[in-house]
Amino acid sequence: MEKTTLFDKIWDAHVVKSVPAGPDVFFIDKHFIHEVTSPVAFLNLEKRGIGVKNPSRTVATPDHNVPTVDQDKTIKDKLSRMQVERLRENCAKYGIELHDLGSAHHGIVHVIGPELGITQPGMTIVCGDSHTSTHGAFGAIAFGIGTSEVEMVLATQCIMQSKAKKMKISIDGVAGKGVTSKDLILYVIAQISAAGATGYFVEYAGSAIQSLSMEARMTVCNMSIEMGARGGLIAPDETTFEYLKGKDYAPKGEDWDKAVAYWKTLKTDEGAVFDKEYHFDAADIEPMITYGTNPGMGIKVKGNIPTTEGMEGSNKTSYLKSLAYMGFEPGEAIKGKKVDFVFVGSCTNGRIEDIRSVAEYVKGHKKADNITAWIVPGSREVEKMAHEEGLVKILEEAGFELRQPGCSACLAMNDDKIPSGKYAVSTSNRNFEGRQGPGARTMLASPLTVAAVAIAGVICDPREVFQN
């Protein structure tokens, strides 16, 4: 029998038809929607005079543009309010499950899907958001789509997609103290570049991946898109099953046993061939931070910004343009650089383990005076746990401002913007120009590094801050 990869197994089981010399008609099990990329899709359905084919396969939540204060009140920003209201209208009209602002399961779509157990191994999952790759942590094929494709899924439960090439990224060994899954993925992206996996779907494997918790795996898969990959996935195992067991939408009783039996078959066959493979050693990885304007521009926190040696043409021009935007010089150390804001949150690192690690780190300390520290839980559930576990108190005592769930300063669609020229160290996923607000300068790092920076007020290595 042909040896196949996990990606092949799930993909091939969802192809309705392969169009000759064209893409596959690809069936979608679960579709997440939010307020920003869905309204035009619904509008087009109306123009075509067609409805939603299977509303039970779509789940909605407003997350991208929502305010992170006063969520119980009417949204002040008119355009944001209109988008959220349109989402409510569309969900009501077509019978789509909506986890609205203020409800018990409201949150960032990629946080609530797993949290509720909607995301399960073997599924195909799409959403009009590139960080849909997060759900790959469960051994699902999950990727971001455009609004035309949102419309296709609503109308037909299918999209037209060409199968991606297959890449395997193995990380073996044991990572050192202070090295988190965010550092693993920032390291990988720095190694293969922000476009290094374009055209591929990635399977992450190796002992350093297998030893990660589900939340840590989600952080890794989340950033697959930042190296250009369509998505990334990890074979489900006991950690996955343990996480899902008892979740609201997870199968129960006999169905659970049947599901687990199937999920256990979801792995790459020994000897299956990938189009490209990378191997990394976890022991080589240290706390990472980005210094430029794409996520591939990452270095060790204790490292130096690369020089332009060996660069030429548009490569060099683009590099210098990026450093000029950041206000950095080639060759200089990043450690000790002054920081103005820290942001803990987003679909990358807005889960309870992230908040726990920050709270544990800053407990009994105060943030530096020059730092504004925002902490935005990924969901209401995370917020609730943070309160119950006493984390909010610790964080507030350290000078952090806790806000309400949403995408917030990750993409600055709401009021949570970093002012022009200011430096923010963020647990989010993108350091593009203006991503956190026009002129904002973003450096990506792990929650632990962000916690250390908040206390020190400058870029620092989390392993060194409380040494004395």
């Binding site: 064209g22 035009v40 355009l79 944001s80 349109r86 971001g144 789509i145 922000a194 374009t198 548009s314």
Partner: protein, 196 residues
């Protein structure tokens, strides 16, 4: 929704010799708040094109009257990052029907083909050649021919062939979109979904 048919396009071009142009640059997130697809062209490359007061930045190519046209020739890894189709809407609304680069991000490329903007991948050498030719003479035209899958620098006749699958090629030439096709497959999809 359907778009204007695209078979052969001859046009002057706008050069943007920057690598890793992400979709946050093409259209920043704060301009994604519309509930209808209109007016996105005004905010195309917003923060590169205008300063904080809304004044045009003189050094940005879209503000340089020397260059115009329906073709954008850009650096490597164009369209990376966010899956926002709004980026392509902005390009289309502004008047671009074709983007040329030596490397495109995946989701962006799909989004382009879904709404009738043609992404043409050329070799880095040909990309440099086009960039140099346009910069040297802004009246230079480029011809993009879908039926023969060929892109030509008209002044010298140099050309390169480009990839596009037969299905998308047919769609672009007829202004069709995928939904028409998927709707026609309704029964097959239902049969498939029955045991899912």
């Amino acid at each position: 929704m359907a778009y204007d048919k695209f078979t052969v396009l001859t046009s002057t071009a706008v050069p943007l010799p920057t690598d890793n142009v992400d979709t946050d640059q093409i259209i920043p997130a704060r301009f994604l708040k519309a509930t209808e697809r209109e007016g996105f062209g005004d905010n195309l490359f917003r923060d590169w094109r205008y300063d904080v007061e809304g004044n045009p930045k003189k050094d940005f190519v879209l503000n340089d009257p020397t260059y115009s046209g329906k073709i954008l020739v850009s650096g490597r890894n164009f369209g990376s990052g966010s899956s926002r189709e709004h980026a392509v809407w902005a390009l289309y609304d502004y008047g671009f029907r074709c983007v040329v680069s030596s490397f495109f991000a995946d989701i962006f490329k799909n989004n382009c083909l879904n709404i009738g903007v043609l992404p043409v991948t050329v070799s880095p050498e040909f990309s440099d050649k086009l960039m140099d030719a346009i910069t040297a003479n802004p009246a230079t035209t480029i011809t993009v021919d879908i039926p023969s899958q060929k892109i030509t620098l008209d002044s010298t006749g140099e050309s390169e062939s480009f990839d596009i699958n037969e299905y998308k090629k047919d769609n672009m030439q007829n202004g069709f979109d995928d939904i028409d096709y998927l709707l026609s497959m309704s029964e097959e999809i239902d049969a498939f979904a029955a045991d899912k």
